[in-house]
Amino acid sequence: MSTVTLTNTSTSNAGKWVYRSAVLLLCAWVLVPIYLLFVNTLSSPEAVNSFPKSFTPAFDTESLEFFLGFSGMLNALLNSVYVAAITMVMSIVIGAPAGYALSRFDFRGKELFRMLILLTRAFPLPLLALPLAVMFIEVGLDDSILGLALVHTTLAIPFAVLITFSLFSGIPVELEEASWTLGCTRLSGFRHVVLPLILPGITASAIFAFVISWNEVFAAAVLTIENRTLTAFLLQNLDTSPLHLKFAGGFILVVPALIFIFAVRKYLFAMWGIANR
């Protein structure tokens, strides 16, 4: 009896250690590169290029200044912001009504529609990018901010639909019905009752769309030439730019995304928790 207990404890102990080291490993996997990025960005170019490297940041802004002064960089940064902003607006304007319809109405092919939304993520972007580039050249959308924003919108819409679907589903339909019996139309009921309740979630969903566009590099690289976004611009200059420029660029890309995702994490969990039910 006692031996059995003993083995049990030792197995559960071993399990605990495996679990702990797995957690530690995964955390390191994510955090160490970010830390190195952070350290190297805030070091002087000389320190970045020398060896051995320091593991504490020097809080030297020379690298960042160099990065911002690099010809075309500011323009690319602005392009990234524009594309991401348009993507954000379009994916909410299109995605939120779809999410509302999915949560409130029963229609033929609803399940199929939900699956199709997810399926849009099944096609690898390289497969789509080339035909898209050709088509964009034909209609004159090539190398334009709007064209790229359209592509990014299609990437962001599935998430916008799923997040808003779960948000709308979380609001009891009786609240809307109560508003109708109290003198609201469907539209004014939405404005007075649903919208105030859902606004934080919509904001989260919009920010998520922004981040998707902000981080996207493949379509940006294929579809733009002059009007590069930041990701595409950095990729283009990857082999020629000095190390400290790469670090600074990576830092500028990663930080907004991280901050935004952290701010809206609650709603992203809701998306996986509820929308997939």
Binding site: P172, E174, L175, E177, A178, S179, W180, T181, L182, G183, C184, T185, S188, H192, V193, P196, L197
Partner: protein
């Protein structure tokens, strides 16, 4: 005047018929209760009157105006929902005043009516709270106040007390009755609780399988149920049914005793009596006692009469044990008869 007339209303869903051939007239200021088991269509009917559901066919009139094509806001109704539906992002004051604000009433009117209905529902001290800070009972009070503040022609209530605990439900039931009588509005109240229906209603519409089986005053529904369904649904314990065999024209044999009853072509009909309408005598229906439940106020006895179950509510002083044979004598004027095939009252 807010008389409600429902004409030939039917509702079909994709897979089943929720309502068929509903005809009902509810007079001004009447308190009508729609009573039935879940799935009988009572809530669907209420939602059709509210305009939250569209009838497949038929007409709904309120106060001489046909309203079945109008959106809910133009029907002169207010509704209280089962789960309260108090807006979580508004204070109690804003909730109660919401409908008035939508009607663009002047601030003074909103203020006055909110305070008046809040004090009517005893929630004036909660006006600045949010619904997250309220108990279930308080939320229900807010929901009722919000409906009353509209001063609607008709107030519709969908099982408003079913989410409350038993004690609170009793308290709210009595209060609702008083408040609604005061407000002089026509009320339609949906419930599956027959006690609630009996205590609140001016008239009860008993529904079963998408049809109104009987619409009558509580005591009429209780004393003269229109069908075996109504007799079994209302009353706790429900009405007893026994087989009656024809002895001669107008005379029927039930459990070994002869009763004079209706003349009928069938050889067998159903004899019915309420459990509390039987007395123990030396001569009556022979019943074998199976179960004795002393409930304090009275004694519930479950017996076996010719293989059929028979319940009697007796005086709590009665001495009786399982296995005893009782001679139960029904009060003759309380006996009801039902057709065996159609289950309707004869």
């Amino acid at each position: 005047m807010a008389e409600i007339i429902i004409k030939n209303v039917a509702k079909e869903f994709a897979t089943y018929q929720a309502l068929s051939d509903i005809n009902l007239t509810i007079s001004d200021r009447e308190f009508m209760v729609l009573l039935g088991a879940s799935g009988c269509g009572k809530t669907t009917l209420l939602r059709i009157i509210a305009g939250l559901e569209t009838a497949t066919s038929g007409e709904v009139w309120i106060g001489g105006r046909r309203i079945d094509h109008l959106p809910p806001k133009d029907r002169g109704i207010a509704m209280v929902f089962q789960n309260y539906a108090v807006f979580p992002h508004m204070t109690v004051f804003e909730n109660i005043g919401f409908g008035l604000r939508m009607q663009k009433q002047p601030q003074a009117v909103v203020e006055e009516r909110v305070r008046r209905t809040a004090s009517l529902m005893h929630i004036e001290q909660l006006l600045s709270r949010y619904s997250g800070e309220l108990s279930g009972g308080q939320r229900q009070r807010v929901a009722v106040a919000r409906a009353l503040a509209m001063e609607p022609d008709v107030i519709l209530m969908d099982e408003p007390l079913s989410n409350l605990d038993a004690l609170l439900r009793l308290e709210m039931r009595a209060e609702l009755k008083g408040v609604l009588a005061e407000s002089k509005t026509t009320a339609i109240y949906v419930t599956h609780d027959q006690v609630e229906a009996m205590s609140l209603a001016d008239r009860i519409s008993v529904m079963n399988k998408g049809k109104i089986v009987q619409a009558a005053s509580p005591i009429e529904v209780y004393r003269n149920p229109a069908s075996e369904f109504v007799a079994g649904f209302i009353g706790n314990p429900p009405m007893n049914f026994l087989n009656a065999k024809k002895v001669s024209e107008g005379t029927w044999s039930v459990g070994g005793k002869e009763f004079s009853g209706p003349t009928h072509t069938a050889d067998e009909i159903r004899f019915a009596i309420r459990p509390e309408d039987t007395r123990v005598t030396s001569d009556g229906i022979r019943a074998l006692v199976r179960l004795v439940e002393p409930l304090g106020a009275n004694l519930h006895v479950t017996c076996d009469v010719d293989g059929e179950m028979f319940r009697a509510v007796l005086d709590s002083d009665t001495v009786v044990n399982p296995g005893d044979i009782l001679m139960l004598n029904p009060q003759l004027e309380r006996i009801r008869w039902f057709d065996k095939a159609s289950t309707l009252a004869i």
